[in-house]
Amino acid sequence: MGLEEYKGVFVFAQQVDNVLDGVAFELLGKGKDLAKDLNTEVTAVLIGSGVKGLADQLAEYGADKVIVVDDPELKDYRTEPYTHALASVINEYKPEIMLVGATAIGRDLGPRVSARVKTGLTADCTVLEIGDFPLNPVPGKENEQKHNQLLMTRPAFGGNTIATIACPDNRPQMATVRPGVMQKIEPIKGAKANIVEYNPGFTPDHKYVEILNIVKAVKNTENIMEAKILVSGGRGVGSAENFKILQDLADVLGGTVSCSRAVVENGWKPQDVQVGQTGKTVRPNVYFAIGISGAIQHVAGMEESDIIIAINKDEDAPIFDVADYGIVGDLNKIVPALTAALKAELG
């Protein structure tokens, strides 16, 4: 069948325990932009058991249509039934674009689905836009240039290079996007979507794994991806105990403490507050980088912050290359003094 038969922007609306993941809303926000450029609709694909009630929430975040695949086999995430669900939706409804969150679920589901429906998948995209492929027409082959393609930009080599990738000859054009990268819209209260229920049938086979046990980690109440102000510490903070001075600064500003990879490796902070390539991508209003040298893997996770303030005693630390305001100095003196000054100012 022709590629032109594939229409619409589809978003996998990830839910766990029947709670939608924030990345679903972020993808809808970006999906809406792409759909506008293509003069088409954005559709959320909601997969789970007893999840139909979540459709209105997806409508409020921009979904024109919600396809619900609801089946008891889909209660908890397992690769095979979810792959069957999403691949069947793709084969039935033929979207031109399929976006999936680059979560621990999406980075398993995306590749398996792409292999099943025989299309390309670009991982961990940071920019998605509609454009031409090749970007510039090849002289003499102007009519071979394809328009209205999804151009997917992603970092590679540990954030050292960026590549823009297209999928010109296969559909859908599939991408995963890391949580925190795209912007969700302000929810439109009371918005309604066209809800379509679809069930391709689920027959357990050799690929269905058995869930013996689900062990939830002790929930950390701080979500660094939601924080407007992050006070982030690195190896230079020196010890777990010394993170107290960062916590005090965060408290006075209503912010949250995060950290670099070295801090997690030293056991000073848990992994769920780690910023960077192997941690989380954050874009707060203000990011304090305190005693963080600024390895490229760290910078990849925080450089989109609105304002970056770095404090480091090493004047050659690479963090100063991305900081808006860099202070070469002793964090042990500056941070407590700053906290005291802010207390006096803010009362």
Binding site: E80, T83, R112, F133, N160, I165, F320, D321, G329, A337
Partner: protein, 260 residues
């Protein structure tokens, strides 16, 4: 039990990043290593071998130089190495790479296939799950613990806020996290023995049941439109001040930007 471990030779981006004078990445000056997640996968396979008895075959796809990671794997204790190399396989995206590796694995007997979660050069985490789809076997990604129970594997599968303990009948594919274990070092005896062990080299002609439309650059659905070294936002101000002046400076900026 027969275990196949997929490994990749990658540039060492951790700490060893080198730049040319013009600011571009100097790949020639960077060392290559066995991809860390793959090494954890290999270590897991070697521990299963010690515990339950197994033959461990290591497979890599790459340039002829990728022979080095197979030698390293065998020096750690792997039994056999297979290098899949051919110019027509070059430039492959994850679809074409997984199609090719799946074809190579079809030449082998296996109960368990272990890959790393992701490689540090591409960071896609796609090849493992895609191989499993091409082979029509179950996949368990992000493994933080692997046990064998008769014909079954029991794996702790990590998520952001939990793990699932999963059970599935072999054959299956598992993708390993670096957190799975601390890989062993090569031993001097192992290094010596590694050069007596067999490395099999397979080219395109050795891979049956593989369509030319699914290999190499031409068989890759994704195409690179543009690649560039990352342009970062320029450095802002940098000041060297004592503590009191620093505080006044930061307070000034926070007020200027209406943060406070």
């Amino acid at each position: 039990m027969k275990i196949v471990v997929c490994v990749k030779q990658v540039p060492d981006t951790k700490g060893g990043v080198k730049f040319n004078p013009d600011g571009t990445l100097n790949r020639a000056a960077m060392l290559t290593i066995m991809n860390p997640d793959d090494k954890a996968g290999l270590e897991a396979a070697l521990r299963l071998k010690e515990q339950y008895g197994a033959e461990v075959t290591v497979v890599t796809m790459g340039l002829p130089k990728a022979d080095e990671v197979l030698r390293e794997a065998m020096a750690m204790g792997a039994d056999k190495g297979i290098l899949v190399t051919d110019r027509v396989l070059g430039g492959a995206d994850t679809w074409a790479t997984s199609s090719t590796i799946a074809a190579a694995i079809r030449n082998l007997e296996y109960d368990l296939i272990i890959t790393g979660r992701q490689a540090i050069d591409g960071d896609t985490a796609q090849v493992g799950p895609q191989i499993s789809e091409h082979l029509d076997i179950p996949v368990i990604s992000y493994a933080q613990d692997i046990k064998i129970d008769g014909d079954y594997v029991i794996v702790q599968r990590q998520y952001e806020d939990r793990y699932h303990e999963l059970k599935v009948k072999m054959p299956c594919l598992i993708t390993a996290l670096s957190e799975l274990n601390e890989p062993r070092y090569m031993t001097p005896g192992g290094i010596f023995d590694a050069y007596d062990k067999e490395v099999t080299v397979w080219g395109r002609a050795d891979l049956k049941d593989l369509d030319d439309a699914n290999i190499g650059l031409a068989g890759s659905p994704t195409k690179i439109a543009k690649a560039s070294d990352k342009v970062r936002k320029g450095a802002g101000e940098k000041v060297t001040l004592d503590a009191e002046e620093s505080v006044a400076y930061i307070m000034g900026k926070l007020k200027e930007k209406h943060v406070i």
